[in-house]
């Protein structure tokens, strides 16, 4: 059986070589690889990726192709399923790069897949942009890898600035899980940013708990006694309902702020009325969106029947960044190596890109400097766009 598969692969690759070798230099097609979580445990993410990418392709087709240096090139999407697995994501990238000869890759979405896939893209000198991966390692020391979303730690300063400007607060309290990377990192970045704004000691309570804790009454009692003006808790939808409920039980009536980990549909089923009126920072908010963001949402909804989540919106932005990079590159030589280099350099130079998830400029690491969205949980329990917040 293995032998047969081996033979088949050999035969196929031979055919590929022969065909590739003999094919006449046809009018170059711009191939864009999509490496997405179509199957596996987060199929909704893959679906959003695919839908947003196809919607983008529609626009390109309607325009008669992608115009580069005054010439229109047809665009083709090569969609590969990475099964939401790290090794499959790397394999999918290898296939896209070596076999499909794509110019640039969009995806994978989750960090678990994006980190190993980024390694493959970087080693093969193919530009890749992950729309959704927030782990710093995805782009770290990888000049060929970019992302369309902000990094986790970035939300700390954003929330600090929002609380200062919106409410004029000077005393903050933080409650976070010391045994979990994401909340811990965010809490520390928040503290740092807050103390830069308001001086040392302005975080009047910096309280912790450990994963699986269910009772926060001691910490919350301390926070209430500390005279803090608001509470920042960058926790997941597991703990947030308990923290908010217990805070209210202990008589806390001041604002409670969170981070993008709050943004799950589960939050409101678990939290009920208690979470209404709270704020959290995130990538994008569907309810209350305006302008181009609203246009995208309406179009997506009309086409696929549901409101796109952040994956869809970020993929849309990633596709348009790719489009801009190819256009900025200015020419398609047909030599895939030169073109890939050209697109990478153009992408690295992108400044003030107007995305639907915010204005972006890439840093040297390939991470965008962009604004976050502050969401308010409305009285009907919807995640409503409140305002944009920049660091």
């Amino acid at each position: 059986m293995l032998k047969k598969i081996g033979l088949l692969i050999l035969a196929l690759s031979l055919v590929a070589i022969v065909m590739g070798g003999c094919a006449p230099k046809a009018p170059a097609v711009i191939k864009i690889g999509i490496n997405a979580e179509i199957t596996g445990d987060i199929p909704k993410v893959g679906e959003g990726t695919k839908y947003a990418a196809e919607m983008w392709l529609e626009d390109i087709k309607a325009a008669g192709g992608l115009e580069v240096g005054g010439k229109k090139y047809p665009v083709e999407l090569v969609i590969e399923d990475n099964e939401a697995k790290a090794e499959s994501a790397a394999a999918a990238n290898t296939k896209l790069i070596t076999q499909d000869q794509v110019l640039v890759i969009v995806g994978p979405q989750a960090s678990k897949q994006a980190v190993p896939a980024g390694e493959v893209a970087d080693a093969n000198q193919t530009p890749m942009i992950s729309p959704w991966s927030t782990n710093p390692r995805t782009t770290k020391d990888r000049p060929w890898v970019f992302r369309a979303c902000f990094l986790d730690p970035f939300q700390g300063p954003v929330v600090a600035k929002f609380a200062t400007e919106e409410f004029g607060f000077t005393k903050a309290a933080v409650l976070y899980d010391v045994a979990s990377d994401y909340p811990k990192g965010l809490a520390e970045f928040f503290k740092q940013a807050w103390e830069e704004l308001h001086g040392p000691g302005s975080v009047v309570a910096f309280e912790t708990f450990t994963t699986k804790d269910r009772d926060f009454s001691a910490q919350l009692t301390k926070i209430i006694a500390s005279g803090a003006e608001f509470l920042f808790t960058p926790q997941y939808y597991d703990e947030v309902p308990l923290i908010v409920k217990q805070a209210h039980e202990l008589g806390w009536k001041k604002p409670i702020l969170g981070s993008d980990s709050w943004g799950s549909a589960e939050l409101m089923t678990l939290c009920g009325d208690d979470c209404k009126g709270c704020f959290f920072s995130t990538h994008y908010a569907a309810a209350g969106a305006k302008g181009a963001t609203k246009e995208f949402i309406d179009r997506y909804k009309a086409k696929y029947g549901y409101v796109p989540d952040d994956v869809g919106a970020l993929t849309w932005d990633a596709m348009r960044i790719v489009e801009k990079a190819i256009k900025d590159c200015g020419k398609i030589t047909g030599d895939i190596k030169t073109d890939r280099k050209c697109v990478r350099d153009a992408m690295a130079k992108i400044k003030d890109f107007e995305g639907i998830t915010g204005k972006m400029t890439f840093t040297e690491e390939g991470d965008p400097i962009k604004c976050a969205v502050i969401v308010k949980i409305s009285d009907t329990g919807e995640f409503e766009f409140y305002k944009q917040a920049c660091p």
């Binding site: 309280e207 450990t210 699986k212 006694a225 409920k245």
Partner: protein
């Protein structure tokens, strides 16, 4: 002072759970010399059973078919979940522990751990990892008594827990069955010769322990309404600490130690940086055990255990 009293209130609630769960550990240990490590997961199962019963009743009430008020649903949930969970406890005993009654204690301890894992992963397979939201059966009202926030939920939890503990104490001390349990704890070789069935007593013990765990699970669900399959592990382990601290097999000891553990945890977190909570809390318990290795009410191993 307000700060102190507020933490006393917090600790009373938190200690109630430890105390109720520790009682189950203690009772089983006194009869079978078995640490029922699955007890934390029985507590979890009790919370889930309570969740399904109360959600069902709430839905029935909402549909107008059976318009029960919430307080009645709360009582019914506690009663039915205690019955259902005690059946679960009896099944676990029959399937997993009885065949190993004469086996080495280590094997039984391992079996107990495995039962725990089966209950957790069984729940995960059956219901998935989705968190469940325990229905708010008691509408929360908050009272401010000279700066201290007390909610009706807290009061109900502490009162129900203490009532259950008193009921258990009276049952063990004042009834024939209670006497049989105490006798069996004293000597499970001779007492069966007097015509007391060891199987009946074991079943009774498991039923009582599991139903207390179910009550704890429901109260826990009302206080912390996010249920997940692994919720019993940590609470279970800490309640186990309370059972040991109280003196193995001692019911007042387990109850007292449960509350003490709650107080230590809350006050350590309230006074020291909360990161150090468990470090300091469990160091204190280590020191207590160094000086009182048999717990508060326990006796040396050579003497028989008592209830």
């Amino acid at each position: 002072m307000t700060f102190f009293l507020q933490n006393v209130v917090n600790a009373l609630q938190w200690g109630s759970f430890y105390a109720l769960i520790a009682l189950g550990y203690s009772m089983v240990y006194s009869i079978l010399l078995l640490f029922n490590f699955a007890h934390g997961d029985i507590f979890m199962a009790g919370a889930y059973i309570g969740f399904f019963i109360s959600s069902g009743l709430v839905a029935l009430a909402a549909s107008g078919f059976l318009p029960l008020p919430n307080w009645l649903i709360f009582m019914l949930t506690i009663v039915f979940a205690m019955i259902a969970t005690s059946c679960l406890g009896i099944i676990v005993e029959r399937v997993a522990y009885r065949p190993l009654r004469d086996a080495p204690r280590a094997s039984v301890a391992v079996t107990a751990m495995m039962v725990g894992i089966i209950l957790e992963t069984g729940n995960l397979a059956l219901l998935g990892a989705r968190r469940r939201n325990f229905p708010a059966l008691i509408e929360m009202t908050s009272y401010k008594i000279s700066g201290v926030s007390v909610t009706n939920v807290k009061i109900i939890i502490v009162v129900v827990s203490v009532l259950l503990m008193l009921a258990l104490h009276l049952f063990i001390r004042r009834t024939k069955w209670g006497m049989a349990i105490r006798a069996m704890a004293y000597d499970f070789v001779v007492v069966p010769l007097m015509g007391v069935s060891i199987n009946a007593i074991t079943v009774l013990t498991f039923a009582i322990g599991s139903s207390l765990a179910a009550a704890a699970g429901i109260l826990f669900g009302i206080a912390y309404p996010v249920l997940e399959p692994y919720m019993g592990i940590l609470v279970g382990w800490k309640a186990f600490v309370a059972a040991i601290l109280g003196g193995r097999g001692s019911i007042p000891g387990a109850a007292l130690a449960g509350f003490l553990l709650g107080f230590i945890e809350i006050f350590v977190a309230a006074i020291f940086p909360s990161t150090l909570r468990d470090l300091i809390a469990y160091s204190i318990i280590l020191i207590i055990l160094t000086f009182r290795p048999y717990g508060f009410f326990g006796e040396a191993y050579t003497a028989r255990l008592r209830l």
